[in-house]
């Protein structure tokens, strides 16, 4: 079947435009990948090279030799994992109360939850720093994770999902004598996996990518997270760009992998607050 030519041309044009724009948007990342494979002497040549003449993994080896990147990654994964678990537990419980349980003051309490979204973390960072210091939680995992374990956004998202679950299931479970907690565990949670996935991915990304808080409350090198650890390379005496870019790639790979794997969940989360259904 032959198609009329203008259509093919138009389609090729659309793809060309998309490809050019996509490369431009991803350019800072692509150039980082390229520079991470270049030697320091290649990087400083003029005009600036786009691709490595002799690609090598030297910079990656140097990152591993210069900073405890493995430990940074471990720290970030422990803290982000703890926050994810915290979000799933606290938000499921709260969303369940806001969707299935009936009690006086429910709307007021829901408003209390939503009001936390209007309070910027940075405006409370001084007292929070003092709290963590007086608890002796500086340079600890709990200091990095516990303040972020509740989430109004996640509660809101899960409440929406829980409200989709047919009321009849609840009535049937009550007649069978199931406790309300058992209904949450046995029925609501299994039926809400996609929404729980969204909450988990969100919690992980937002914690893994934090910078200000871990910068404030960690001093020991071994307690630093990836973001703070990698940024330290920027403040070294002589900036070695190949090294910095290799570090940047190593730190960004987990989140980029998560983006590719969990794209649908992420998009659902981002659009939940924005578009009125």
């Amino acid at each position: 079947m032959s198609r009329p030519r203008p259509f093919v041309v138009r389609k090729a044009g659309a793809y060309l435009l998309l490809a050019v724009v996509a490369i431009l948007v991803a350019f800072p990342l692509l150039i980082a990948l390229s520079y991470s494979l270049m030697s320091e002497s290649d990087i400083v040549t003029f005009p600036p090279p786009l691709l490595p003449a002799h690609p090598s993994l030297d910079n990656y080896e140097k990152v591993i030799a210069t900073i405890p990147i493995g430990r940074y990654l471990l720290n970030s994964f422990v803290v982000s994992g703890a926050v994810v678990v915290g979000h799933l537990v606290t938000a499921s419980l709260a969303a369940y109360a806001f969707s299935f349980l009936v009690f006086r003051g429910r709307n007021l309490l829901f408003f209390v939850f939503l009001s936390t979204l209007m309070i910027p973390w940075e405006a409370t960072i001084i007292p929070n720093y003092m709290t963590i210091r007086s608890l002796g939680w500086l340079d600890t995992y709990q200091g990095l994770a516990v303040p972020f374990m509740a989430t109004a956004f996640g509660t809101f998202l899960l409440r929406q999902a829980f409200m989709q679950i047919p009321r009849e299931l609840w009535d049937a479970a009550r007649i069978d004598g199931a406790s309300s907690f058992r209904f949450l565990r046995a029925v609501v949670i299994p039926l809400s996996r996609p929404a729980l996935g969204t909450v988990a991915i969100y919690g992980f990304l937002s914690t893994y990518n934090q910078y200000f808080w871990p910068l404030l409350i960690t001093n020991e090198t071994l307690m630093r997270t990836t973001q703070v650890g990698i940024a330290q390379l920027r403040f070294e005496e002589s900036l070695r760009w190949g090294l910095v870019m290799a570090g940047v790639i190593m730190v960004a790979v987990p989140t980029l992998a998560l983006l590719v794997l969990g794209q649908r969940q992420l998009i659902r989360g981002l659009t939940a607050g924005a578009v009125k259904g």
């Binding site: 998309l18 990342l29 600036p48 309070i119 003092m130 374990m149 940024a231 910095v244 940047v248 730190v251």
Partner: protein, 295 residues
């Protein structure tokens, strides 16, 4: 409205489910917010211990402080450079991505990849691009005959450099939100407009823009709040400099509290930050939502 025993019991059960979240919010959000107000009325030692009651002196100092006023200007410029351009760019790319083509999802993933990129990584990437001797930005500009500026050294340009980095960091979110908005526009509306002879730019201005206005206003608020909270890219690109040109409110809080140990004064700055975010959120909920077009 009398409380029966059953009311109390159901409230107790409800609160039991809410307790983990409520305790965390109390300890790390509400009480700290109260303490921020409280601290702003006191002088403190470098350890953070309160010394003397100060009344509204810190606020009076804020109003008369040239540094704080220039901080407000820096924050305003940052928002003006970042938010409208970021949203416009996001809308253009969302329109481009809103085509029915095979493998369009590959392009969507590439163009929205910045949602996974941290501010620290983004700042380091742009630090390289802005570099006057080896950065590609000035090299590309030189190819079209423009002598690129010293991005991070000239005060008027440094805030633009921070803004460019921030636009790039928020582009992914903007595209996703606007793409969802575009996909919610019913095809019939376009068909009806086409029958009326609307095409191209006219169609875009008369149909597309009004129809995605809820998403546009949502982003206007969300992106402005993000600008008010931005710390990392400033810390890694300019450290508030040169000569305070990028010392936004948040960066001022950081410097005053954690470099100069003026916790009381920095708390007063925090209260201003809180008030600004609150005002934006109230605008979002109250004023704007009523005027925006909904189907």
């Amino acid at each position: 409205m009398r409380w029966t025993a059953r009311d109390l019991r159901s409230l107790a059960i409800g609160l039991a489910y809410l307790a983990p979240s409520l305790v965390l919010f109390a300890v790390f959000v509400f009480i700290p917010l109260g303490r921020t107000f409280y601290l702003s009325l006191y002088n403190t030692r470098a350890t953070g211990a309160l010394t003397t009651f100060n009344g509204l002196d810190h606020y009076i100092d804020l109003v008369t402080s040239a540094t704080f006023r220039s901080g407000l200007v820096a924050t305003g410029l940052f928002a003006i450079y970042t938010v409208p351009i970021g949203i416009a760019l996001g809308l253009l790319l969302a329109v481009l991505l809103n085509q029915r083509l095979r493998a369009i999802s590959v392009f969507r993933t590439m163009m929205t990849s910045t949602i996974a990129i941290s501010a620290a990584v983004g700042a380091l990437l742009w630090l390289l691009l802005f570099n006057p001797s080896i950065g590609l930005l000035n090299y590309v500009l030189s190819l079209i005959g423009i002598r690129g500026p010293e991005w991070l050294i000239q005060p008027a340009i440094a805030i633009i450099a921070v803004s460019i980095t921030t636009i790039w960091l928020t582009l992914g979110t903007n595209i996703i939100v606007l793409l969802a908005g575009l996909q919610g526009i019913p095809e019939e509306i376009y068909e009806a407009a086409r029958l009326d002879g609307a095409r191209g730019v006219r169609m875009f201005m008369r149909i597309t823009v009004p129809m995605v206005s809820p998403s546009l206003f949502f982003l206007l608020v969300v992106d402005s709040v993000a600008v008010l909270q931005a710390f990392t890219q400033i810390h890694l690109l300019t450290r508030g400099g040169p000569v305070d040109a990028t010392r936004t409110i948040v960066y001022g809080i950081y410097l005053d509290a954690f470099q100069n140990f003026q916790f009381g004064f920095a708390s007063a700055e925090s209260v201003v930050l809180f008030a600004l975010v609150l005002a934006l959120t109230i605008i979002q909920f109250g004023v704007v939502e009523r005027r925006v077009f909904y189907q």
